[in-house]
Symmetry: D3
């Protein structure tokens, strides 16, 4: 395995994502973290912010590169010169959806292969949207995201609250 | 178990919720039904209506109290002087999501405990959103909600239809 | 089994739907494909387009009729003089939701029966929304939809893109 | 649908099985209940007893016939001149196994079709082995099996206990 | 909640069981750990050994009592003067079977209630049979069972191996 | 990824296993198929037969080696100088058990990693035990196993039947 792509929204990256990034980076020569532009959802962090945060928290893993992508995943994988897609599986994740997407990608690009890695049991329950819920409601979750992400979440929601108050 | 919290949106309360409320009320000294303010979703009934309906249909259970809450569930539980959260499990419910939230809450408040009770098999299929679909489409479901809730649902949708016709 | 109803949004019909239509049509005298008006979602194709596409791709199956419906499914089934509802089950479908709806319908109309047929394993991963994602992102999936549907999807997204560019 | 086969071990038949038999019998001209010889498991009731019990409790449904079978299900279905296999789905059944067997049968006999009916929610939890556990441990479950089956279970376990005591 | 029963085979007790015992013991006045005699399976440890091990490892929890039981669980619960059954739920446990048994018990004893507690995510994967597999194959798993259980497992398998060699 | 182990009973190898072997062999320098001795189950084919059959049907894949193993998987993996375990995931497989074993192995050998590959949707329903059922009952399944395995299965069951008749 020369090069693999780990795709996602990373809005924001959690310790669960980092766990998969670290595990996958030991299996391949180069791991490309692909950040989905995804214009149909409205993410909390902009694409630039999500890429920036990911680069900060993966700076110490030498063979990890962070790239943005739009369009079909299979096209991005082939543009990157990769043929492996990495996905994390949580005990409680929506396995059906992951499996559907992987089978669909196989139809679109027979030569590409999706490999699933298990997230650590410590992060079985963890999702970006749950982390956002906690910070939106004024909580803090240092055991779920790196300190830098925690700061960015607090700043982001403080910002949003200020905007709302000004509008009122 | 002195005091427990049963949280939810209750938009509106169904016989499935009432089944859990009755079961839980026999296990604890006081059961607090916590109605989520939940500003991000647009509920059919306002917070006041949901609290009012719940108080009507639980009036005959002496150790049940209905309260509204916003913010993190773990904070509400501790403000209420409780340490138990009650959740209903249906055979067909999205068990994964319930489990994720309960594990997340454990991270945020180690001393609190979530206990799951099984809903009666008669209500295995029942959800507030299915009940609303039936009434919105002109149906009636007396076996799924108490008579008072059935009336409120019919009045609400008659009201909404009148508003729409006036706007047109 | 004289007459059965196969309900859905069909936005658009896929080879997975067609697989169920063909299987079901051999089991009954007449199969009515019921296209849901569904005003709460915003479909890609209008009701007229969805009905039109379905009629084109089922033209060669003599005992299949395509009809639109709104309101409760159980009312439509009884208006059609049917008492059987056909649903497709995929290995990876959200079985829980299907089961909930079927149990709910049984409460509303005891004399009606839902029968589940298995979709071919070739289409285990297939859903209308995945097909739309592929075409929206400029891909093509001739193995998932009939040629006529593929053309309609390409035309529709070309159209939408032109509209967007004019608006900018 | 002229004729269908409902296969199983029926060791012994429960109200859950009877629920499916009644529902299926209204959908077809003739329903053949196929009792599996199954030499690899050691059933509580002999093949003759299981067939006898089934005939007793289905005596009032005119278009139901009870037959024993060994070998491949697809061969039995074709010998019976049927092409439909009926299976019951419980909310809590092992859906995966049912689906695997149905897909396997489709590979072996493309022209045969498996249709799944939902068991009543009253019997979502019910299985023959649970019923046997209750009677083996001296309990009684009149709400789960017809009176005649209840008697046969009590007689069978009384008999087995006598045999054990004589052996000691 | 005055008194509750936590039933199981405990062959042997693991840190996962102990996690549930500790959580449950804080919710009730007295927790009775009910060790199933279970003559139909062949356990690794005898009933006496399993009770003995459980008493050793729960000696420091004052309101926990270990008792053996045979027959129907609902009868044991009522003999103990309890009306609550405690069960542990793991993210990866066979939830369906637990739910079936709990619904069955509700049919047999309407006044009894099963409450489910979540096992710590650290033990999501843990089962007695997996622990036995590891020790049988010569491994050691100090993070999964208390030191005393680890010793007993090693002694038991050393013993079994000696017996086998003598027989040969 | 230099070297990986694909463990199993392979009693016998099916096209589903071969699908995973082919996919995995393109991802690593060397793939070791580890055949489990497994003294606790009674396999249809002896260890020697299972190894022999696997070597025949993988003879044309240069970087695949077939080896037997007993004891803990993590020990075998480390003896082979590998640190990757490959497992196949079927849409309908018992995902929970696979996940439990992989998490357990991670506890026993932190440096080893399990990667899951999806089996082709064509084999979503396929298991060795289903194949054996078909041949035991006199059926034939050329689309599920290679011709050589089909012959071995027919010979094996013909043999077993002769033995049984001689004993009678």
């Amino acid at each position: 395995m020369k090069r693999a792509v780990y795709p996602g929204s990373f809005d924001p990256v959690t310790y669960g994502h980092l766990d998969i990034i670290k595990r996958a980076s030991t299996l391949v020569d180069e791991l490309i973290v692909g950040v989905l532009v995804n214009p149909s959802k409205s993410p909390l962090f902009t694409l630039e912010e999500r890429v920036d945060i990911l680069r900060k928290v993966t700076a110490d893993i030498p063979n990890v590169r962070v790239e943005r992508f739009s369009g079909l995943l299979v096209n991005f994988v082939s543009e990157m010169g990769a043929r492996i897609v990495v996905k994390g599986l949580r005990a409680l994740s929506d396995f059906d959806i992951e499996f559907q997407m992987a089978l669909m990608n196989r139809k679109l690009a027979e030569s590409q292969e999706t490999i699933f890695l298990m997230t650590s049991d410590k992060y079985a329950f963890l999702s970006s949207s749950m982390v956002k819920d906690i910070y939106r409601l004024g909580g803090k979750a240092d055991c779920l995201v790196p300190p830098y992400v925690s700061e960015r979440l607090q700043a982001k929601y403080a910002n949003l609250q200020n905007q709302q108050q000004e509008e009122e």
